[in-house]
Symmetry: C2
């Protein structure tokens, strides 16, 4: 389980991460919201913690888990070069469509991205 990509390949872990975007959560809260057995949650949290995706603080018997940004920023960084690529493709497609059919130009313009 070396790379950040292997970590987020697991659906349950992605679910946990998405859940933590809103706010920190205890193990029990995660368990209930995602309907997964407690050992499963704990094991995935361990993987996420060791990979730096989350950190935990102690609150009585509970442990509160919250996100840490670095690993996902690593994914973001890997993705960056591709972003240039696909926005170029979208632009090219739009230019192509503009030439093909002027009648739908207005409609498309309103929903154009970037």
């Amino acid at each position: 389980m070396e790379s950040v990509f292997e970590i987020i390949a697991e659906p349950n872990r992605r679910a946990i991460l998405s859940l933590l975007v809103s706010s920190q959560q205890s193990v029990g809260e995660i368990e209930r919201q995602l309907r997964m057995p407690q050992p499963t949650v704990s094991k995935h949290l361990r993987v996420l913690r060791e990979a730096g995706f989350v950190e935990s603080t102690v609150d009585a018997q509970r442990r509160l888990y919250r996100l840490k940004p670095e690993p996902l920023q690593e994914v973001e960084a890997w993705l960056a070069p591709f972003r240039r690529f696909w926005s170029a493709r979208v632009d090219a497609l739009e230019r192509h469509l503009d030439r093909m059919d002027q009648s739908t130009l207005t409609k498309r313009k309103t929903t154009r991205r970037r």
Copy 2:
């Protein structure tokens, strides 16, 4: 091999994708540049093609592979909510640093993101 995340979990596949950012490549070119056995390249390309990451066109005996944007945009989309989260964290850190040490303010400001 359902999700796009499982696809990009494999390091060789990520290498192939990164290689294709610059331009389309034949199987042999990929094989040589990444120093991996030909069946390995072909098998990974098959996975990438079936998942929509790449498409191929025939050029005599060669097959030229090029990127398709959609699956990686899916990753991008999943990542989006987290981006809000970590830029907030960075801002908080910067404010904190601004208070701590005014002497380095100028230098940091020049390299600040977003």
